[in-house]
């Protein structure tokens, strides 16, 4: 029982990270209908920036704040200078650019900081709660994520800029007609997505360690989370992220349990990623719009 709770707690903790990545993906998707495959690598690059800031003597939170600001700027610049010229181009061109960005950030990080694995400090105390059920860093991860999600929700729900961004994502033509600078809203969306990724990266780095491949599987899980919740629904994506986090840990838990009881290895830690991919395929087959997504019908 204690082990089960432990697995759920750690599932929620990693789920928090998947939720962030899923949200970043959904933000860009709802505005542009494109999936940013480079989202994970951008987050990884941001995490290196954070590490660099800490190396130069900044404390964790100051370094993170600087990283978030810088990542926001990088996101805006990528939209303005790389994606803007592609407006109206075919989906395939955008996909190629996203994959190009992925490769660029990957090699850039490897080139600047080398491919060797680095330790990344956690800002949270290492004490555990509830007799070892959940660790300090795990609680911190969830808390930071929830605070960030709350801030984002308030921004979109209660500010006029947030409203303008939602309007621009929903109906760019009408948004222009009421004076919304749609192009800038897209750039802002990219900035926000990059900033969310930066937080996710800095939160997960103490667990997975800092190296250029650190976000590869996280991105896949985030993608799974976004699809489970519905790629068009930010709230759904966050829920999906947490759900995927818990499911992957439960899979490992029940796999171990069956092995102990029956002595047969069916499924375990090694198949976590497989399970994530099975989730993606199942959802896409059974309910393409996701659990909370809207079914979009087009008149032809």
């Amino acid at each position: 029982m204690e082990q089960l709770l432990q697995q759920i707690a750690s599932g929620l903790a990693s789920g928090a990270i998947y939720a962030c990545v899923a949200l970043a993906l959904v933000m860009i998707f709802t505005a542009t209908d494109h999936l940013n495959f480079a989202q994970g690598e951008m987050a990884m690059f941001s995490t290196y920036l954070c590490w660099q800031f800490m190396q130069s003597g900044l404390g964790f939170w100051t370094a993170l704040a600087a990283t978030v600001a810088l990542s926001f700027l990088i996101g805006v610049l990528i939209e303005r200078f790389i994606l803007r010229p592609l407006a109206g181009a075919s989906v395939l061109s955008s996909v190629v650019v996203f994959i190009g960005l992925l490769a660029i950030f990957h090699s850039l990080a490897g080139g600047i900081w080398s491919h060797t694995i680095k330790q990344f400090p956690s800002p949270f105390p290492s004490t555990t709660l509830g007799a070892g059920i959940i660790g300090g860093h795990q609680i911190g991860m969830v808390a930071v994520t929830l605070v960030m999600l709350g801030l984002l929700f308030s921004f979109f729900r209660f500010t006029s800029l947030g409203l303008a961004m939602r309007a621009a994502a929903q109906n760019p033509v009408s948004a222009r007609l009421v004076g919304v600078r749609v192009d800038w809203m897209l750039a802002l969306g990219w900035g926000l997505a990059a900033a969310i990724g930066a937080v996710a990266g800095a939160m997960v780095a103490p667990v997975v360690y800092l190296e250029p491949n650190m976000m590869t599987s996280v991105l896949l899980y985030g993608f799974a989370g976004a699809l489970v919740g519905g790629i068009s629904s930010p709230g759904g994506a966050v829920f999906g992220g947490f759900l995927v986090g818990v499911i992957e840990n439960l899979v490992a838990y029940f796999g171990n349990l069956t092995e102990k009881l029956f002595g047969v290895y069916v499924i375990g830690n090694g198949e976590k990623l497989t399970v994530a991919l099975i989730i993606v395929i199942t959802i896409l087959t059974l309910k393409p719009a996701g659990l909370f997504g809207r079914v979009i019908t087009k008149r032809v």
């Binding site: 309007a167 033509v173 222009r176």
Partner: protein
């Protein structure tokens, strides 16, 4: 009366094909002008060209200022509110948000609230549905919302594209009555494109008739209504 909008040699393009072949017209301050014409004559294109939604050439002066090179959002910010064909509702936003988004750059919360109240005074039905998702509104209510949203821009000129489209005659009459009030009380000039020529000529004081991208007739609405050719082609009697 000083001219609010002066258009000269306006051409508009969809890709390489020219849809407007250099039209010119003038709108007086405070008036209601209608553009009549058959399907494909270029009425909608004309409004879209004024709002900067299609590639265009020629001269457009709004209140003495050249706007033919401005982007759609900047034209809207100057006070030219385009109410598009099909209404362009933000279906996933609430009625309140649909209206407020048009005031998103304004910091004067009290004045925005006043403007909202003004919209609700014209369209009490929107007030009843203020927290509802705009996609759940009826067609008539969505048309009211589109006009209300345009009003939130505090426009000096409203470009109305087919407000009667797909609506029951009673609803259309209601909307046209309110448009007259908006024109008279708020001093908003109106450029109206409408299939229902009889209704449009009743509301408007001036009329232009477009045929295949050129102006073929211009005059006071009352005179245009009596024109035999117009009566036969557009009024059907």
């Amino acid at each position: 009366m000083a001219a609010l909008l002066e258009v000269e040699g306006l051409k508009a393009y969809y890709g390489a094909s020219e849809a407007l072949h250099g039209i010119g017209f003038t709108l007086a301050q405070g008036g209601i002008t209608t553009i009549l014409g058959a399907n494909g004559a270029g009425k909608t294109t004309c409004l879209r060209a004024l709002a900067g939604m299609v590639r265009r050439l020629g001269s457009i002066r709004f209140d003495g200022r050249a706007i033919e090179r401005l982007a759609t959002e900047d034209i809207a910010r100057l006070g030219v509110a385009h109410v598009p064909e099909g209404r362009g509702t933000f279906t996933g936003l609430t009625v309140d948000e649909n209206l407020r988004v048009a005031a998103h750059t304004r910091r004067d919360a009290a004045a925005v609230r006043d403007d909202l109240e003004r919209v609700f005074a014209y369209f009490p039905r929107l007030k009843e549905r203020v927290a509802q998702q705009a996609g759940t509104l009826s067609g008539g209510e969505q048309q009211m919302l589109a006009i209300g949203r345009a009003l939130m821009l505090r426009p000096r000129l409203m470009l109305l594209d087919e407000p009667s489209f797909g609506l029951a005659p009673l609803v259309v009459q209601e909307i046209f009555r309110i448009m007259r009030r908006i024109n008279e009380e708020a001093g908003v000039s109106v450029l109206l494109v409408e299939q229902n020529a009889a209704l449009a000529l009743d509301l408007a004081s001036e009329a232009y008739v477009l045929e295949t991208g050129t102006v073929v007739l211009h005059g006071r609405a009352a005179d245009v209504k009596k024109d035999e050719g117009i009566r036969k082609s557009y009024l059907g009697y």
